[in-house]
C-alpha cells in the first residue's frame, strides 16, 4: 500500500512539474528576452511584464502542486526512491511535452542528452 501511495505521488510530481515547466517556459517566451527588456526598459518593466502574463501564475501554481506532491511522496516513500524516480522521469516527460506543446525541435542530440541525464540521476541513487 505504501508503495502505491509513493508511486501515485511520483506520478503526480511528474505531471505537475512538467505542466509547470511548460507553462513557465511559455510565459517567459511571451515576455521575451529578459536581458534585452531589462537593458531597454529597466527592471520594473521586466517584473510587471512577467507578473501580468497569465500563464506565469498558472505555472507557479503547478510548481506548488508538484512541491506538495513531493512532500506527500516523501511521507510515504524513501527519499532515495522518490527523488531520483521523479527527477529522471520528469526529464523525459519534459522532452516529450516540450515537443508537443512548445513545438521545440527535440533532435536526436537532446533526446540522447535527456536519456543520459536520466540514467545518471538513477545511478546516483544506487
Amino acid at each position: 500500500m505504501n508503495s502505491l501511495y509513493a508511486w501515485t505521488a511520483i506520478g503526480l510530481i511528474i505531471l505537475a512539474s512538467t505542466a509547470g515547466d511548460i507553462l513557465l517556459s511559455h510565459a517567459m517566451k511571451r515576455v521575451g528576452d529578459v536581458g534585452e527588456l531589462w537593458k531597454h526598459r529597466g527592471i520594473l518593466a521586466v517584473v510587471s511584464r512577467v507578473m501580468t502574463t497569465p500563464t506565469f501564475a498558472v505555472g507557479l501554481m503547478a510548481m506548488g502542486i508538484a512541491f506538495y506532491s513531493l512532500l506527500f511522496g516523501l511521507s510515504w516513500g524513501n527519499l532515495s526512491l522518490v527523488v531520483p524516480a521523479s527527477a529522471s522521469l520528469t526529464f523525459v516527460a519534459n522532452a516529450v511535452a516540450a515537443r508537443i506543446f512548445l513545438h521545440e525541435q527535440v533532435g536526436r542530440r537532446r533526446w540522447i542528452a535527456a536519456l543520459l541525464v536520466a540514467c545518471g540521476v538513477v545511478l546516483m541513487a544506487v
Binding site: E104, G120, V126
Partner: protein, 174 residues
C-alpha cells in the same frame, strides 16, 4: 495585444551600447548567457545546501509546534538558502525567455553532480563507483546538449534586436 513597432536589424557599424554582446544569429549562446546558465546550476546547489544546513540546526519540526516552521526562516542559513533559491529562480526564468526548455534542463543538470560533490567533500559521504558513473553520465549529457543550438522553436524571442515583424502575428495565435 499591445502593438510594438518592429525594429529593423541594426546596420550601423559603430552601434550603440549593444556593441559586443549581440550576435546576429540569436541561437548562439553568448558569454552572458553562459553566466546565467552557470548561475542556475550554482544557485540551486547553494540554495539546497544552505537550506539543508539550516534545517539540520533546527532539528526535526514537531507537529505539535508547527510554528517552528515559520521561525525557521529566521535562521541565517535558511535565509541565505532562500535568497539563493530566489536568485536561482530569477536566472531560470531569464534563461527560459531566450532558450528552449529542453536545452535549459539538461544544460543545468550539473547541479545533481555538484550536490553529490558537496556531500562528499563537506560531509565525507562515500561515493560508490555506480554513483561516479552516474556523475559521468550526467556530465556527458550536459556537455552534449550545451554544445547544440539553444532555441529551435520557430519564433525569435520578443524584444530581440533581430526579431522580424511577422513574429507579432505569430504571437497573436497563442
Amino acid at each position: 495585444m499591445e502593438r510594438r513597432a518592429s525594429r529593423p536589424s541594426s546596420t550601423k557599424p559603430g552601434g550603440d551600447a549593444r556593441r559586443s554582446t549581440i550576435k546576429h544569429e540569436t541561437t548562439a549562446v553568448t558569454f552572458r548567457k553562459y553566466l546565467v546558465l552557470a548561475g542556475i546550476t550554482v544557485f540551486s546547489t547553494a540554495g539546497d545546501s544552505l537550506l539543508a544546513r539550516g534545517m539540520k540546526d533546527l532539528g526535526g519540526i514537531s507537529l505539535h509546534h508547527p510554528s517552528g516552521l515559520l521561525l525557521a526562516i529566521l535562521n541565517p542559513w535558511v535565509t541565505a538558502g532562500i535568497l539563493s533559491l530566489l536568485t536561482f529562480f530569477a536566472c531560470y526564468m531569464s534563461a527560459l525567455s531566450w532558450a528552449d526548455l529542453t536545452y535549459v534542463l539538461p544544460a543545468t543538470s550539473l547541479s545533481y553532480v555538484l550536490v553529490a560533490l558537496v556531500g562528499h567533500f563537506r560531509l565525507h559521504e562515500e561515493i560508490s563507483p555506480a554513483r561516479w558513473l552516474g556523475i559521468a553520465l550526467i556530465a556527458a549529457g550536459v556537455g552534449f546538449v550545451a554544445a547544440g543550438p539553444s532555441l529551435t522553436s520557430s519564433r525569435q524571442p520578443r524584444n530581440s534586436p533581430d526579431a522580424a515583424p511577422n513574429t507579432l502575428s505569430q504571437e497573436a495565435k497563442l
